[in-house]
């Protein structure tokens, strides 16, 4: 959020770190292309919508779904970081969410740390363990909250203890809810298209495949179905899908 963290040196360092992480992810994706960028963009569009859904975590308190856990498990950490960075750019530049000067910090807290946490959980617990989704998502949320708390304490003069307890508490509960939702979605994916859960081995159809051999691809449909069920399990659709609505409205208004 612009104007909260104001230390210019910290902002510079955070933005440079965020850009560096995106650069590394980009290098990894270019070196070893695993997924079509178009497919990642499509998943990112749903994350853009999902981030407008607020999860109530206490009286008068809510946190939004991050979506990086599911993206990391389906796309792999590098492409997941890129997709989330794009989501954050759209939110900052078009919707005023997250903040322009804090873009690098948001990339670290929302894209990089949760993706690393999910990747580690996946490595430690195995790609098919049910606990992977929950542990990875909760760990990612808590790491992001800790990082944000540190930024607020260092860059905004907020008291460390209160800030840390507050943010970790809120994001921890939100991460738990999101982890369970991710687990449900993964359950559907595992039944319908198990190959999609192994980013190193599985290979989603790319545009090049489509040009060369336009054959039906059920895996894509089942992935979409799994995501649909994930969103359908959220019984508290917030009154703020206007992030998406604003984009759509402006797309329609554009000449």
């Amino acid at each position: 959020m612009d104007g909260i963290v104001a230390d210019p040196a910290l902002l510079l360092a955070l933005n440079a770190s965020g850009a560096g992480c995106v650069g590394l992810a980009l290098q990894r994706v270019q070196r070893r292309p695993q997924r079509s960028l178009a497919w990642a963009g499509t998943l990112g569009a749903f994350v853009l919508a999902a981030q407008a859904i607020n999860v109530p975590v206490g009286p008068g308190v809510s946190a939004h779904v991050i979506g990086s856990g599911l993206l990391t498990l389906v796309l792999g950490p590098a492409l997941s970081i890129l997709a989330l960075a794009c989501v954050l750019m759209i939110q900052a530049l078009l919707l005023g969410d997250g903040g322009i000067s804090m873009l690098g910090a948001n990339v670290i807290n929302i894209a990089v740390l949760p993706a690393i946490a999910m990747h580690l959980a996946r490595r430690c617990l195995g790609p098919k363990a049910g606990a992977t989704a929950v542990v990875g998502t909760v760990l990612g949320s808590v790491l992001g909250a800790l990082s944000l708390a540190w930024m607020l304490a260092y860059g905004a003069g907020a008291p460390w203890r209160v800030t840390c307890l507050w943010l970790v508490g809120v994001q921890g509960v939100a991460g738990l809810v999101e982890g369970v939702l991710t687990l449900i979605a993964l359950g559907h994916l595992a039944r319908r298209a198990p190959g999609l859960l192994d980013p190193d081995q599985a290979r989603l159809p790319t545009l090049d495949d489509a040009i060369e051999a336009p054959v039906p691809r059920p895996g894509l449909r089942w992935t979409a179905l799994g995501l649909g069920l994930l969103l359908a399990w959220v019984p508290f659709a917030s009154g703020s899908p206007d992030a998406l609505e604003v984009v759509v409205q402006r797309l329609q208004d554009a000449p």
Binding site: G3, C86, G96, W166, A210, A232, V247
Partner: protein
């Protein structure tokens, strides 16, 4: 976009201890509002969406008993937010990927961003079609039912494939900046004005 980034960063880093800096920031925001002529209702709606997030970030400071500091933080954040939203109202979504690409964003990222923006529209349009079809068939269940969302995502993914393939076959490359795009002499006045305003806020503070 670059001007927006410069000015918003200038406001965001304005020293809180200086009341003059906050006044200067407020003046800059007012000028941006007047120049961009953003729709006030839309601006208010978008600002209100951000208030809970802002409150969640300022609350720890408030809980620690630093009410004045919390108020100043919130005020500066609101100024930065209104400035960013005013500039955002002037941005064309269609041109955003190529504009970012011409500012140095790597092409794969620009392409992914363009896909996201196009799919956001597709999600809305496809959702409306599915809801209308269900209504005409007399189906029960709300707009957020599992069936609707599953159908929506399935059909959107299929449509995404078709659209991308069609565009690719026609030789479209949305990530490549169009001729004449990029920073040019016409952009300099706004960029200079934004930079001067950002510098002025900090000079005023000192």
């Amino acid at each position: 976009m670059l001007g927006c980034t410069v000015l918003v960063t200038g406001i965001s880093t304005a020293p809180l201890r200086s009341r003059d800096a906050l006044v200067a920031s407020a003046c800059a925001t007012l000028v941006v509002l007047l120049i961009t002529r953003a729709a006030p209702l839309e601006l208010l709606k978008r600002s209100l969406v951000a208030v809970p997030v802002l409150a969640a970030l300022v609350l720890p400071v408030l809980l620690a008993g630093h009410a004045r500091h919390a108020f100043e933080l919130g005020f500066r954040a609101m100024l930065a937010l209104i400035t960013a939203l005013s500039f955002a109202a002037t941005l064309s979504i269609i041109d955003l990927p190529s504009a970012l690409s011409s500012l140095g964003l790597p092409r794969p990222l620009a392409r992914m961003l363009g896909t996201m923006l196009r799919q956001a529209g597709a999600v809305q349009a496809q959702g409306q079609r599915i809801l209308l079809a269900r209504k005409l068939r007399g189906a029960k269940g709300g707009a957020m039912s599992a069936e609707v969302l599953a159908s929506l995502l399935t059909s959107t993914a299929e449509r995404a494939e078709r659209v991308e393939l069609a565009m690719r076959l026609r030789g479209a490359d949305l990530a490549t900046p169009k001729a004449g795009q990029g920073l040019g002499p016409r952009d300099l006045p706004l960029l200079l004005a934004s930079s001067c305003a950002a510098i002025a806020i900090h000079i005023w503070a000192s």
